[in-house]
Point group: C2
Chain length 409, copies 2
């Protein structure tokens, strides 16, 4: 039952309120007990009841909710570093695919990897993410693309969830692409998804969401409807990779299917923006992917102005976003998506929690989990302005210090 004081600025990040509303408190104090926030406010107003509780100092730093990365493909086999150079030299995706690269190469490497191998790689990424202040991670499958290997990826996530310290939210992305061996017979793959994979994932409670990549090169709107209706009957809520490379009306589809979020949205149209605003669906922006792909980012300001909550995530994967650095993604949300630091932070806390249908994290309102980060900066504005790689000094999950920087700058 400690009291954290000497907080220069505390960002509550209330679940409700506008994109830029962080509920900032200067010279704040934070009280927690049994892993949950008990009280938060100005240190001068600390209730007498907590006056004698043990105190810890934040050292005059910024405190904010633990960061939530609400879109990653955490566990995969292999890397694709040489493709990065190829793309910079102007080689097209098709050329690269013809040489055996692209997503199919990751599917091959992921199928070839054992559960232990996938786990060990993902474990090391998660540990590094903890040092970046990331306390909750959404993790997608989608590189197995058959029942056995999709379940293998999801079991890696279950193991990571059991180990802790981070909270893991698993999503089945069986509908990432049609795997090479089913190219001539799409229907057989759709049947595999609806008749085998979805029921088994639900049976073993291996995922909270089912995600479909809606795109010419992946799945049609009609196929997404079919798959996600079956997923819904098995208790798996919809997520969509939508409007990434072309406008497929993904925002409207997300509203129709009551998706927890629609992700990417670089090519979203005005109709889809209105539909998402009306339905209150979170838009998950992925600024690392747009930069790696040399693509214009989604119209973040238009979305925010229309009242759509915009989350920010890494999209960590070996092709279009080979970085798990959520701090960097937030900085790019400012510099490339023209979001203010406050708007960006809300996108990796309260709104990211909403994209995961979690109302107990992402905000330091009393009753929520005591997941928080101590950052060596005087304010949120300063944190995302003076970018450097050693800003987080302590990461706390359920009130327990999960990591602390040895040498504080």
């Amino acid at each position: 039952m400690p009291v954290l004081t000497d907080i220069a600025q505390l960002a509550v990040c209330p679940a409700e309120g506008a994109q830029g509303d962080l509920g900032l408190i200067a010279k704040a104090a934070l009280v927690w007990e049994s892993g949950a926030v008990l009280w938060v406010g100005s240190a001068a107003a600390l209730p007498a009841a907590y006056a004698e509780w043990p105190r810890e100092s934040a050292g005059g730093r910024l405190v904010m909710p633990g960061l939530i990365d609400c879109h990653t493909h955490l566990a995969f086999g292999g890397w694709r570093a040489d493709e990065f150079e190829q793309k910079l030299l102007g080689r097209s995706y098709l050329e690269i695919a013809r040489q055996g690269g692209g997503i199919a190469s990751t599917v091959k490497a992921t199928r070839a990897a054992s559960e232990d191998e996938l786990h060990s790689r993902a474990r090391s990424s998660l540990d590094a993410m903890l040092r970046l202040g990331v306390t909750t991670v959404e993790c997608k499958s989608g590189y197995g693309l058959n029942v056995e290997d999709e379940l293998k990826q999801l079991r890696v996530y279950r193991r990571l969830a059991e180990e802790g310290p981070q909270r893991i939210v698993p999503t089945c992305l069986g509908a990432h692409i049609v795997p090479p061996e089913c190219k001539e017979n799409r229907k057989s793959y759709l049947r595999l998804l609806t008749d085998e994979l979805i029921p088994q994932v639900a049976d073993e409670s291996l995922a909270r969401f089912f995600d479909v990549f809606v795109e010419d090169t992946a799945f049609s709107r009609e196929e997404a409807r079919t798959i996600l209706h079956v997923a819904a009957t098995h208790g798996l809520r919809a997520k969509l990779h939508a409007d990434q490379l072309t406008d497929t009306g993904g925002g409207v589809l997300a509203a129709e299917l009551d998706a927890a979020s629609a992700d990417h949205l670089e090519c979203i149209n005005a109709n889809s923006i209105r539909a998402m605003a009306k339905a209150g669906i979170v838009a998950v922006s992925l600024p690392l992917a747009t930069l790696y792909l040399n693509q214009e980012p989604l119209p973040a300001r238009a979305l925010i102005d229309a009242g759509v909550p915009v989350a920010v995530a890494t999209d960590f994967n070996p092709g279009s976003a080979p970085s798990y650095d959520l701090h960097l993604a937030l900085w790019l949300a400012c510099t490339r998506q023209r979001m203010t630091p406050a708007e960006a932070l809300k996108g990796a806390t309260a709104y990211a929690a909403r994209a995961l249908l979690r109302d107990d994290i992402g905000s330091l309102e009393p009753g929520n989990k005591a997941d928080f980060v101590v950052v060596d900066a005087p304010s949120v504005n300063h944190w995302l302005y003076h970018f450097h790689p050693e800003t987080v000094v302590r990461t706390v999950i359920s009130g327990e210090t999960a990591w602390k920087r040895a040498r504080i700058p």
Copy 2:
């Protein structure tokens, strides 16, 4: 006299050769003695003479020359975090300046700061840069803008150079802007530069270069000629901030003045590119600044194709580039300037050394200083592809380990 082995890939970064020529050696060994490189090559070809020398392991990692940040404004007073938010909200530079922001506010804060205060802030940035593998830093004055405060900034750099471990290359940027108090009488400021500041800087050997910001809002080409001719007679070689916001023919001017480098160049024209290629002048690209300023980067590919050596630096300063993260700048040189990882690395090693007229650093050719970095990646391509903040595990300057990561990932 150690031998470093277990090097997965060693990037020699030869001083000569094309932008993408790193002289890569797989399974390499590196031998040094008395602070200088003695031998480098394939481990299998290690000469018998070194066979009994003490060995160290690079752990199957990448080894490359210590990084050189050839354009920074390292020592300054104050920060301008709130301007960052203002700019993201669309406020113009003029509006911000009218509210007391912009460069004038940094001049005010730098003049108000004591030498000790400036030193302590710069010291802490340098320490952090060491953990990013940066072994040489060019440092500009330019926030004093009177004799006393320009010398104060340059004396901070002298102190940092004496302390080590990094090599410091000081540049006087007295011609950054005309200071507010001389707005009505530019000529008095030009006289201050040519008759007082330049002679005193030369007398005390406080700088190697003199830099002029050529732009409508700063100094004209003609003024730059006058200033830099005087600087040359005092042994200070020219550098230029050129073609950043408008095309002022800065590349042609740099060639005419035999500048060591022309920096920024976002608006460079074809004529200037030809002139720089012919004169062999280094173009210093500053990808952090273009992103913070929401500006198109310089035409790196056109420069490289024309044969201009392109360096990459941070431009670290509190306004347009509040980050000293050279690793991030190199990643942006790839993703935003479409340079390959090899081209980017050459820009922060051999070509950055050339921009500082140093032929003893920036490359691991025998005879050069043994400044090198051990990086937790299997190759240069992989290092700038899988971006994360803990890649450097050891920084060595003159053969001595200046920093080592405690927990190796």
